[in-house]
């Protein structure tokens, strides 16, 4: 089977892989790079748990043809920690009990990061909009929204 060589930046590190035709970015990240943080939930664009940032923009890795990220920068949950220290969003999610089964959490965090990277002080409505493509089937949206707001205000709880 013919494979295509593909190079891109994965969490700031250059990587090179060979992909089969039609391989999506989610499979490439999980099976070829070994980054298990993005999850498979639907393969349809309905759940958001495979969300990653491509050149800083929120994308669904399961609907992204792997070859489309050639030469671009892909950021996943695996890359947002600062060394051993949690990213403020990760800390806020933990402090606000914003995870139950944890399966939507990687996508939620990336969607939240995409928001805060361009809008550091979002309103509650903007947070809701930002995570509207991400399904939490344990229905823990309130703590998730609170966590994003808490991270945005530097850990200070907002009304």
């Amino acid at each position: 089977m013919a494979k295509t060589a593909l190079q891109f930046q994965h969490n700031g590190r250059d990587v090179a892989i060979f992909v089969d035709g039609g391989t999506n970015l989610l499979v490439a990240l999980r099976e070829l790079i070994g980054d298990m943080t993005p999850k498979f939930g639907c393969g349809q664009g309905g759940c958001g748990t495979c969300s990653v940032l491509i050149d800083g923009e929120l994308h669904l890795s399961c609907l992204t043809l792997a070859e489309m990220v050639a030469g671009r920068s892909v950021e996943t949950l695996d890359g947002i920690k600062d060394g051993p220290n949690l990213h403020p969003l990760q800390r806020a999610f933990a402090d606000n009990f914003a995870a139950q089964c944890g399966y939507c959490t990687p996508g939620m965090l990336m969607a939240a990061k995409a928001l805060l990277d361009r809008n550091p002080q979002p309103s509650r409505a903007e947070v809701v909009e930002a995570i509207s493509g991400n399904i939490c089937r344990c229905t823990g949206y309130e703590p998730i929204i609170n966590a994003v707001l808490a991270a945005a205000s530097g850990g200070r709880a907002r009304a």
């Binding site: 013919a2 393969g43 489309m68 509207s132 991400n134």
Partner: protein, 272 residues
């Protein structure tokens, strides 16, 4: 057979590759084709891409607007000149889907998707396509009527006249989940007014047929009249004429027929 990806710099070559291979699909934002591959659709064995910059061009400066087929909904939301299209663009998916999904791909999106196309249909849009033999323009309505046979055509762009006033174009998507969700039904209307009378009324409906359709009876009820209670009533009661909605998990055909007039009335009378 494994999937082969073919990337071309010229749209002409991409179009030729598409038209010569029944198993080829053009990959825009990925929300339809990648989904089909993920779900095991083995009828697709070639994925065609084009890297031509023209595919992502937005020309919104004049009275006639042209959107490249590869323009994303996020891009439309970033264009101030396209403010009248922000409602349909925002009604699609979450932020990630809007960063990926394209205007061209939306023309092919099946029920309960394809909301942007409903807006385009109400604006009498024209689709520029590149076939194996050359380029041509085709009215959107005609394009949609033959959509099953268009998989081998490459859509380059879509163009339409900018509405004369902000009030002339209206859009409404009925979904069960807010702010995101597939459509129960989608409605768009373009009501240009000459003096106090509507001239060239267009009403388009999504999820009321296998593709977006025009509600011609409702258009006739509005044509040449002022947008008053009486005209709105006649349009609302005519809305269901000529529709053929289906059942899906979001709503039954019966329900769609019941509510289409109600929502057209609200759209026309400016109610929330």
């Amino acid at each position: 057979m494994p999937v082969t990806v073919k990337t071309f710099t010229s749209t002409h070559d991409a179009a030729a590759a598409l038209s010569s291979d029944h198993s080829a699909r053009y990959l825009g934002g990925g929300t339809l084709v990648m989904r089909a591959l993920n779900e095991g659709d083995i009828s697709i064995s070639t994925v065609v891409r084009a890297s031509d910059q023209a595919m992502t061009r937005v020309d919104a400066s004049g009275s006639r607007i042209t959107l490249g087929a590869g323009v994303t909904f996020a891009r439309i939301l970033a264009e101030r000149d396209l403010a009248f299209l922000h409602a349909p663009a925002r009604s699609i998916g979450g932020p990630a889907v809007r960063n990926m999904g394209t205007v061209g791909g939306n023309l092919f999106a099946p029920v309960p998707y394809g909301d942007f196309t409903v807006a385009m249909l109400a604006l009498d849009a024209v689709v520029s396509v590149q076939g194996g033999l050359g380029g041509r323009e085709i009215a959107l309505e005609e394009f949609l009527q033959s959509r099953d046979r268009q998989a081998g055509t490459l859509v380059l762009a879509i163009s339409f006249a900018k509405p004369g006033s902000a009030d002339a174009f209206r859009y409404r998507k009925i979904a069960r989940i807010k702010p995101k969700g597939g459509a129960v039904i989608t409605l768009a209307a373009h009501l240009p007014v000459n003096g106090s009378r509507i001239v060239g009324a267009r009403v388009a409906l999504g999820s009321m047929a296998p593709t977006p359709i025009r509600a011609r009876a409702a258009e006739r009820a509005l044509e040449g009249r002022a947008l008053d209670a009486s005209a709105i009533n006649s349009a609302a009661s005519a809305a269901v004429e000529g529709t053929s909605p289906g059942d899906n998990a979001l709503a039954s055909a019966w329900y769609r027929r019941e509510i289409v007039g109600v929502h057209l009335r609200r759209l026309l009378s400016g109610q929330e």
